[in-house]
């Protein structure tokens, strides 16, 4: 069952320097109980895409220009950003976990006050039930001695613990979809493993869907079932993790996989970097944004506009080049 369908989403920022097409015609979907990874480097639009689905874009300068976000059979973009419908969906049906737990928790409120706000707004619980539920949630995400720690303030928790509090808050109203935006970038790797395993287990237990937004390909390979690779505001490749990691087809995906060092690699392996820099998104040319860095480019790439996603094998690839013939 498809839970969320995003169709042709376009979010533009009208800045003093020109038009930034941060998200330029992105479509994706996520099924119930599925874990999907959205991968890309900074500035590729992966976070803006997620913020747009919840209408959390600051406007101006941001504008959702076009597209549909269909959730539970309704188009969320039909509702006003500050209306009651969107407010009941944010945190209630769709919850989000951010990268920096210290800045996304309110430092002046205790953890209980922050969780109880969610519970009273979305589930209309009374104070006593709220407390019981909050302790239950904190225990579930692995905070030891939750009964005592529930009245602590965010600064009294370590980074990993704060992120656990965020997860508890996100799960407090049994959302159908959890969006984790770089959830483990600010924590150490052993904590990252703990947190991601926790999320994976909770998703299985409650049949929640999970979108992991990250730049770490390893995290996606380990936890996600499907993957979308973004570059300069568009999805350039999508498919199942099995297919994409075994045979990436877009030059950018191929480049990404070749340029990261692997823990299990042969000695003296030389990294193959992607030459050049990620593009400046202001006033982009209509041709493929990866063209200046692409090692496989052909004449057609220079002459025609950025290709749309089309099926290649089991994957969807936005490229004119048949990389299978060109690579090796």
């Amino acid at each position: 069952m498809t839970l969320l369908t995003v169709e042709n989403l376009k979010t533009y920022f009208h800045t003093d320097f020109g038009l930034v097409k941060a998200v330029d015609g992105v479509s994706y979907e996520i099924n119930e109980g599925e874990i999907v990874g959205i991968v890309g480097e900074s500035g590729c639009g992966k976070s803006v895409t997620q913020l747009s689905t919840l209408q959390l874009i600051t406007s101006p300068p941001g504008m959702i220009e076009d597209g549909k976000v269909i959730f539970d059979g309704r188009n969320l973009l039909d509702y006003p950003a500050n209306g009651p419908e969107m407010r009941s969906i944010r945190g209630g049906k769709i919850a989000m976990i951010f990268q920096e737990p210290m800045t996304s928790l309110n430092p002046t409120l205790s953890v209980f006050q922050q969780i109880s706000e969610m519970l009273s707004l979305h589930l209309q619980m009374d104070k006593e039930t709220q407390r019981k539920r909050a302790i239950e949630l904190l225990t579930q995400v692995g905070i030891p001695d939750a009964k005592r720690r529930i009245d602590d303030y965010p600064h009294q928790f370590s980074g990993g613990m704060r992120q656990r509090v965020m997860i508890a808050m996100a799960l407090s109203c049994n959302p159908k979809l959890l969006i984790a935006d770089e959830p483990t970038t600010a924590v150490d790797v052993t904590t990252q493993a703990q947190l991601l395993l926790l999320m994976q287990n909770l998703v299985r237990q409650y049949h929640t869907s999970l979108i992991i937004v990250t730049h770490n390909l390893g995290v996606v390979a380990r936890y996600a079932q499907r993957i979308y690779v973004m570059y300069a505001g568009r999805i350039v490749e999508s498919g199942s993790c099995d297919d994409i990691f075994n045979q990436p087809k877009h030059p950018y995906t191929i480049g990404l996989l070749k340029c990261v060092p692997r823990l299990d690699e042969e000695e003296d392996r030389r990294l193959v970097p992607i030459e050049g820099l990620p593009p400046n998104l202001i006033n982009m040319p209509p041709t493929c944004a990866f063209l200046p860095r692409c090692p496989y480019k052909i004449d057609r790439c220079r002459e025609e506009p950025w290709p749309a996603l089309k099926p290649v094998g089991n994957q969807q690839v936005a490229c004119y080049v048949d990389t299978k013939l060109t690579v090796q």
């Binding site: 150490d188 790797v189 380990r222 990691f245 075994n246 996989l257 692997r262 823990l263 820099l277």
Partner: protein, 326 residues
């Protein structure tokens, strides 16, 4: 071992924790606690560990940015841990530092050329302005920057280019060793590999250049290093050749650390066993007794909380600090 460039013996760096007007010492943080290792000429030693494990402090002690509490630092045959500031400045010319943050570590009002040229002038390595110009231009070319950009200021460069400026500055005085403190963590994935390759190329070009590469990313450290030291709460728990570290990790912490790093390969990932550690890294203010790792260790026994394990060679230079590993 006559090709030993740097030897660190029983290095300790304790920071006092003070309270009140009189700054009474109430506790101390043992940021680096009895750490010993050596770096050979032309070798890359990786220091890896999680936040607060003391890897950066170790690097800073070697450069004498801190005055170590105890221990010896022998660089090019000379004990430098007690040298005066004036003398140490001349030594630092031989072992510069590359910083993590390419935005904060460059003076925003200085031109790129002057940033790179400053150490050359300070140490009076050139005779006149023309020589300096030439030298800076050749350093720019060496790190893959266009020498025509010498007059630009840092904000006109991208993150990766700024890190190249930092590397050029480090190379300016013909160093024998560069301490790289998280040099690529602030960069984008596709840019990281460009900098790693540059560092590797420079090492080939200047035969005998050594690196101490400090980072939290195990895959990167393993890739670039010849040997890797894994640190936990101020101590080295395992030190070995980088190949052995992945193929045959012996310390339980190293094993957990390696299993926690996901590999971007679906087939490999499906077959890997994950070791999930209990709890979190304890506060360095009150570290556990005995082996610091014992409260989280899957194979700990009662004596682990009593004995401080020494770093022992278990064969072929593979050193482990664990009483369970013989």
């Amino acid at each position: 071992m006559d090709n030993t460039l740097l030897e660190v013996k029983n290095l300790k760096m304790y920071f006092p924790v003070t309270r009140g007007l009189l700054r009474r010492k109430i506790a101390e943080v043992k940021a680096v606690d009895n750490v010993s290792f050596h770096v050979k000429t032309g070798e890359t030693l990786g220091l890896v560990g999680e936040t607060g494990c003391g890897k950066t402090t170790t690097g800073r002690c070697i450069l004498r940015l801190y005055r170590p509490t105890a221990g010896q630092i022998i660089f090019e045959g000379r004990e430098i841990s007690h040298l005066k500031d004036r003398q140490i400045r001349l030594i630092r010319r031989k072992m510069p530092l590359i910083f993590q943050d390419p935005y904060g570590s460059l003076d925003p009002r200085q031109s790129a050329g002057s940033i790179v040229g400053e150490p050359i002038q300070f140490h009076k390595l050139v005779l006149n302005k023309n020589d300096l110009k030439e030298r800076v231009a050749s350093l720019f070319r060496m790190v893959g920057l266009d020498p025509n950009m010498v007059n630009r200021v840092p904000h006109e460069f991208s993150g990766g280019q700024r890190q190249r400026i930092g590397i050029a500055r480090a190379l300016a005085c013909e160093p024998s060793m560069i301490v790289c403190d998280e040099p690529i963590s602030a960069l984008d994935v596709s840019i990281q590999s460009q900098i790693i390759n540059l560092l590797e190329d420079l090492q080939k070009q200047f035969k005998g250049l050594s690196y101490i590469f400090i980072a939290h990313d195990l895959s990167v450290v393993r890739h670039i290093s010849d040997r890797v030291a894994v640190m936990y709460l101020g101590r080295i728990v395992e030190l070995t050749e980088s190949k052995k570290l992945y193929d045959n990790p012996l310390h339980p912490y190293t094993q957990a650390l390696i299993s926690a790093v996901p590999i971007p390969d679906r087939r490999v990932e499906k077959q890997r066993q994950q070791i999930i550690l209990k709890g979190e890294v304890p506060s360095p203010l009150s570290p556990p007794s005995g082996c610091h790792f014992h409260p989280r260790c899957p194979i700990a026994s009662p004596e682990c909380s009593e004995i401080i394990p020494a770093l022992n060679d278990v064969g072929d230079g593979h050193e482990v600090a664990c009483i369970k590993v013989q």
